[in-house]
Amino acid sequence: MSEYRYLVDKLLKRALELGVDEAEIALNRSISRDVKAEGRSFKATSKADETIWVRVAIGKKVVGATATGLVEDKLLSLVEKTVDIARVSSEDPYWSGFPEPNEPRHRWVGFDEGIATLDTPFFLENIRLAIDEAESRDSRLKTARASASLTVSWNVVANTRGVWTEDRGTYMNFMLYLKAKDMGRESTGFGYIVSRSLVTDFKEVVEDSVKYALDGLRASKFGRSIIAPVVMSPEVAAELLFNVLVPSLFASRVQEGLSPLAGKVGKQIASESFSLVDDGTLPGGLRTSLYDSEGVPRRRTVLVEKGVLKGFLYNTYTARRDKVESTGNASRRATMVDISHTNLVLARGKSTQEELLSEAKVFLDGYLMSAHTVNPITGDFSVVVTNPYLIENGEVKPLQPVTIAGNIYEILRNNPLASRLSEQTPYGIVTPYLLLRDITVTG
């Protein structure tokens, strides 16, 4: 990415000439390819993208802009337009500048040449194989959708304080979404793999989607509402935490009064069995990188230790406002630099999955529907689980989708138990199976 140095320097210099106090340029180049199947009809796509982010500060007035395509004169006029808006914008009294340069804290780069050099035929062949295999298992199964994709991404962040960081990464996805139909009963099954490095075996995706779809066909209606202990699979637990708990760990939401965890550092917010670490340095982690979106090195941050809240996730702006160091969690959302988690790792427990299940009434598997509708401001949630199972006399029987409801903070204080083994989920959360108590299950 050093071939962009000339352009980036020129844009920073132009901003300074126009009278800004500081400027920052971030740049992303990415290539992605995929093959998608709608039923057995395939299409292939290929994208080459360049995106640039500009932030300028005049005093405490800060404005951002983004654009696609790295054409010099277009970008120079973007910088000019951004400066024009900054002049008439209003001040943010908490603004205290862009980050200073710093060395990375780890060495793992999630870049696999094996993914970067993959081409369409590999995806096509494996999607066909997966569809053939899945549909041959049972004549009631039909493919709704399948896809396989790769993304190769390069990032640069530079600012007028001397930051110049380069980063790169590869990502691969494979998913199969099946529909099953039998005498008026309908169900779906979903399986997927996400990885930073090359995967060539997709059996697990087929097994998962077939199992859920067929279990769905013989699922019975729960037909009642109970308050009971449940076990959540890693996917279900991660999707719930991602939506209802994780945003409240972002310093931006804490500072603006949108987090119920404000003012609770040092206090017990969960049972001793619950610990949580954000680890942007985790080898193999879906969200591991050398630097965050402002060029601040990724690190490991303890958030909850034995139930006690230890801190929050910061970018440079929120960190300086709280007079602490940035935790390297800056992320870009259109023109704004916000905060996001990297790899959130939940503490593992001492039980096996079977031991947890023996204490529960319902096992919640599959994925959540309407998870984005939960309320992170209060911690209240009420969502649908697609593939629940009833646990009765040591047997696990499929149920039709149920709703589950509760408050995440009450639940975390109610002695949650974790299994010995964890799984990485696509939400950037590494979690074991969790036994959670007093959840309302309705179906």
Binding site: V35, F42, K61, A65, A67, S89, S225, G257, S370
Partner: protein, 465 residues
């Protein structure tokens, strides 16, 4: 704007023996202003400029995009689309024939277009929402302005040549208040294909938008979690919109029909809902929503009647799914940006009016809940759908009683539409430039709405046994 480049693509495609090519150039802007607790937290412009090229060869489709518009790079992108399409081998994809659209499609009657309005005027609108909510005692206030506009040009080898100038402008506010250790959140958005002058009257005034959020937040402090179980549910227009979108719209999208995986596939003409149910999806409706005159395949939008008096009448189609089903596109081919291939998406999806008044529906309901203010929803291909209301009320003996909050409703589409037994006369249609609908990794701005509806049986996922 891009006519010369398009011409070169079409000529090269023809020389390469490509059966069909569609080039979509985009130069659009998304403006953002985020004003949080008295400070500008995000101000900026997001410019999206590039081309997406779709080709069909031997019934297989390849799509390639690039953000670099130099001629040689654009032609290489065409070759990349061709190369990957060829790797798929023989396929069964085609595009339907269409009435060829030509010329410019732009929103009329806009006085103060966001592209030419002063930044200060936009800042003033968010400040007014913020200041109003603060004065009313809200502890946290997040006020937003968003506008999307620009040009999208579509050229195809079969003669489509259109310049579409979309527009969506909106104001939204989220507030949080606290009282005796209780937290109440409220939100409200007003948006449409309008100029900034829209925000100077009636329900669109920044203060009125803020007031709606403030009163919702206060109600939520008093509200308790909803009861759980199967209940009679009265659904306000904004919620009816999410109901139409989630419970029905997604399952009527042509891709799921062509693959035969939607529960609605192969059921045209069947009675699938009660008489009270008519659902349509349209590019333009005078009652509100976003105005989409032409889709991202360059096809002029037309109204699609999905359900008429309970009978399944139609599906949502783009050119490919229309060809697969042997019919015409309804103009529902939409792409998030030039980087994305157009897929079947909704536009403005809503229930049509009935002959009740909202008061009559409530007073006719002995026991149940009324739900308002959607937080979103989702549907699965087996027909399971959910949608969530931020606030609602218990109904007892025809009267609204205590408020309830965060009410998730769930059901199965094939059963639930049969339980709708009343619809009111007033139809309201809403849209928003914040968020939108997501499908297979693509976001789209949509409109949704309806009258006030009543469903005699819906699963409410509350707390407590």
């Amino acid at each position: 704007m891009y006519e010369d480049l398009a011409d070169r693509i079409l000529r090269k495609a023809s020389s390469l023996g490509i059966d069909f090519v569609e080039a979509r150039f985009e130069d659009t802007v998304y403006e953002t202003l985020l004003y949080v607790n008295g400070r500008v937290m995000d101000a900026g412009i997001n410019r999206i400029n590039g081309v997406g090229i779709k080709v069909l060869v031997n019934g297989s489709m390849g799509f390639a995009s690039t953000s670099r518009l130099e001629a040689n790079n654009v032609l290489n992108t065409l070759e990349e689309a061709l190369r990957i399409a060829k790797t798929l081998g023989e396929g069964g994809r085609r595009v339907s024939e269409v009435t060829l659209s030509k010329g410019e499609y732009s929103i009329r009657g806009v006085q103060k277009h966001p592209a030419s309005a002063e930044w200060n005027e936009k800042l003033d609108l968010v400040k007014r929402m913020h200041d109003y909510a603060r004065e009313k005692g809200m502890q946290s206030v997040v006020a937003r302005y968003g506008a999307y506009y620009g040009i999208i040009e579509v050229y195809t080898s079969d003669g489509i040549k259109v310049a579409n100038k979309p527009l969506l402008t909106g104001l939204g506010v989220n507030v949080v208040s606290r009282e005796d250790g209780k937290i109440g959140d409220g939100s409200h958005t007003m948006a449409g294909s309008v100029g900034l002058e829209a925000f100077s009257r009636d329900n669109w005034l920044p203060e009125t938008i803020a007031e709606k959020a403030v009163s919702m937040s206060r109600e939520k402090i008093r509200a308790r979690p909803p009861p759980a179980g199967e209940l009679v549910v009265v659904i306000k227009p904004r919620m009816a919109g999410v109901f139409a979108h989630e419970s029905f719209g997604h399952l009527s999208e042509g891709d799921n029909i062509a693959t035969g995986t939607s529960p609605l596939a192969g059921r045209l003409g069947e009675k699938i809902a009660s008489e009270a149910v008519t659902i349509v999806d349209t590019g333009v409706d005078e009652r509100g929503g976003v105005k989409l005159l032409v889709d991202d395949e360059g096809v002029q939008t037309r109204k699609a009647v999905l359900v008429e008096k309970g009978v399944l009448k139609g599906y949502l189609l783009n050119r490919e799914t229309a060809a697969a089903l042997g019919t015409e596109s309804t103009g529902n081919g939409r792409a998030q940006s030039f980087r994305h291939d157009p897929i079947v998406r909704m536009r403005n999806t809503f229930f049509e009016a009935g002959d009740w008044s909202e008061e009559e529906i409530i007073s006719d309901t002995k026991r149940g809940v009324l739900v308002d203010q959607p937080r979103g929803g989702q549907v699965d291909l087996d027909g399971t759908f959910t949608f969530t209301a931020s606030i609602g009320y218990v109904i007892e003996n025809g009267e609204l009683k205590e408020p309830i909050r965060d009410v998730v409703l769930a059901g199965n589409i094939l059963e639930m539409l049969k339980y709708v037994d009343a619809a009111s006369r007033n139809v309201e249609i809403f849209t928003s430039p914040f968020g939108g609908c997501g499908k297979w990794g693509q976001r789209a701005f949509v409109g949704l709405g309806g009258p006030t509806l009543r469903a005699t049986k819906l699963l409410v996922g509350g707390r407590g046994e």
